[in-house]
């Protein structure tokens, strides 16, 4: 095993990919836990679709796709949040329109751009080990570092807002600002993660580790810590494994995370059977 790891670390591109995987494995569940708490688990998916237009815009304009993706994804995320805030029943449909617009716009723009090709598009949709440049690693490190520090600073307030928005307002918290901040952080996560997991699977890395963690623990803080561990574990294992299997890393990362979920669910059900909970007293 040790020799294998050394073997992997011999390659510059693998060192970059593994570092990126580590950061993405932390950032994605850290943001995802609040989206799940708010019961907006699919928001990452929506942002991923919208970000594709941003990537394609980068190709078309000849700028770094990461930069255009983060801007377009953030605008999309804020739009989604504003629709949610209105609380209209048609919000659902409005979100769907945004998602489809994002994919269609991305495919159209990439067709128009000189450097764009299907292969390029695929590497953004499902991740690609060789595509993580050293410039990307710098961007990923700065963005995910800033994201984790931000959440560390406002985590308590974010918990309160995502738990019960009205109560948070009556506590005098800046609810709207925090909601918009979370939307922007989700957009940043999607952009940071797209080189590693890909836009179509990024949402899974935000949600599945959280779902796995909450099978086993009782509290929010414990869920966060366990979800971070599952996130890092699956991102790093998936990237390393995809080198040997020669596949897109995104798929393997998500399958490892789903495996962790299955194991957690199994363990949880065995534990429940062994000690019938006093929790199950009648209402």
């Amino acid at each position: 095993m040790g020799a294998v790891v050394v073997d992997l670390l011999d390659y510059d591109f693998m060192r970059r990919a593994l570092l990126a995987a580590l950061l993405v494995g932390l950032a994605a569940p850290a943001v995802g836990v609040f989206l799940v708490q708010k019961r907006m688990a699919l928001m990452g998916d929506g942002i991923g679709h919208v970000a594709l237009t941003g990537v394609a815009l980068g190709f078309l304009l000849g700028t770094a796709p990461v930069l255009t993706a983060v801007v377009v994804a953030a605008l999309g995320a804020v739009a989604i949040e504003l629709v949610r805030e209105r609380g209209r029943t048609s919000g659902d449909v409005a979100l769907a329109l945004l998602f489809y617009g994002g994919i269609a716009g991305g495919v159209l723009l990439i067709g128009l751009s000189p450097g764009g090709s299907n292969a390029n598009l695929l590497s953004y949709l499902f991740g690609s080990l060789t595509s993580v440049s050293s410039g990307d690693v710098v961007v990923i490190s700065v963005l995910s570092g800033g994201l984790l520090l931000t959440l560390l600073a406002v985590g308590r307030e974010m918990f309160a807002v995502c738990h019960d928005e009205e109560h948070a307002r009556v506590s005098g918290l800046p609810v709207r600002t925090l909601n918009l901040l979370l939307a922007v952080l989700a957009a940043v996560t999607v952009t940071v993660a797209m080189r590693v997991v890909g836009l179509l699977l990024v949402s899974a890395l935000m949600v599945v580790p959280v779902a796995a963690a909450q099978q086993l623990v009782r509290g929010f803080r414990a869920t966060v810590l366990l979800a971070l561990a599952v996130g890092v574990g699956s991102a790093v294992t998936g990237v390393a494994g995809s080198y040997y299997a020669d596949t897109a890393p995104g798929a393997l990362i998500v399958l490892v995370a789903l495996g962790a979920f299955a194991v957690a669910a199994l363990v949880a059900s065995l534990l429940r059977r062994r000690r019938p909970a006093r929790d199950l007293e009648p209402v």
Partner: protein
């Protein structure tokens, strides 16, 4: 503490609220003095929650003025003085949280941003848990508690900021007798500390003895404001057959109370 002592805790003058143009509250006047304990009664859809939500600034008014502790709502910032128990069926959300984590979130109104919780913060959370009788369950996941226990978690969350005004929206609906009694005990303790209480209820049950005054709502208007209607008629012996609120409405409308 400027002019707060002499002003009423809550003051609504001619407050109207509409949802999509449909009036839900029409010209409501209500003053609640500091230390008063007031019940808001009325049938489903009569506007009780809207009344409470408008005085907390959670729904926009179409007209009228609201003051909390003598300060117009738009300029009110001392939210640590207000505890709110929203009308909810559960205290859980999409991710598990312990009872203590939920209750501690109620302390944020008094906490400095970006600072860790102080010893005083932790004591206040302990005290709030003790007041509702859930100290033993503080490490359990809220989702595993019964409905009545979850209501008590929401009350403890409101108490964590040590409020002077407590606004509760139907904390007793769908709650068993033991939990209603626990709630009444907690409220009695607060009343003894001269906390101002505005309690929305469908039925009064064990809290009835704490009340001097009740406001009865019907169709978005205040139908009655005065001594609580006869406790016997409010006590819900058989939830499937009694219609206490209708009796209250009728008695109030005929001037019987």
């Amino acid at each position: 503490m400027l002019d707060g002592m002499s002003s009423p805790a809550v003051s609504l003058t001619g407050v109207s609220v509409a949802y999509d143009g449909r009036p839900a509250l029409t010209g409501v006047d209500l003053q609640v003095g500091t230390g008063e304990v007031v019940a808001v009664l009325g049938a489903n859809g009569s506007g009780k929650s809207t009344l409470v939500r408008s005085l907390l600034g959670l729904v926009p008014r179409t007209s009228g003025a609201v003051e909390l502790f003598g300060t117009p709502l738009a300029r009110f910032r001392s939210w640590e003085r207000v505890g709110y128990v929203p009308q909810r069926v559960t205290a859980a959300s999409g991710v598990p949280a312990t009872v203590r984590e939920v209750v501690a979130s109620g302390r944020l109104a008094r906490q400095r941003r970006l600072r860790p919780a102080s010893a005083a913060d932790r004591r206040a959370v302990d005290a709030a848990l003790a007041t509702v009788g859930l100290a033993e369950r503080s490490r359990d996941s809220v989702g595993t508690l019964s409905g009545g226990q979850q209501q008590r978690v929401l009350i403890a969350r409101a108490l964590a900021s040590e409020p002077e005004l407590l606004v509760l929206d139907e904390p007793t609906s769908g709650v068993d007798a033991d939990n209603q009694q626990a709630l009444a005990t907690a409220l009695a303790e607060l009343v003894a500390r001269s906390v101002t209480v505005l309690l929305v209820a469908h039925e009064l049950g064990p809290v009835a003895p704490l009340l001097r005054r009740a406001v009865v709502m019907a169709h978005g208007r205040v139908l009655h404001d005065g001594p609580p209607p006869d406790a016997d008629h409010l006590h819900l012996h058989d939830p499937d057959h009694a219609h206490p609120v209708h009796q209250v409405e009728a008695r109030a409308a005929w001037g019987l109370s």
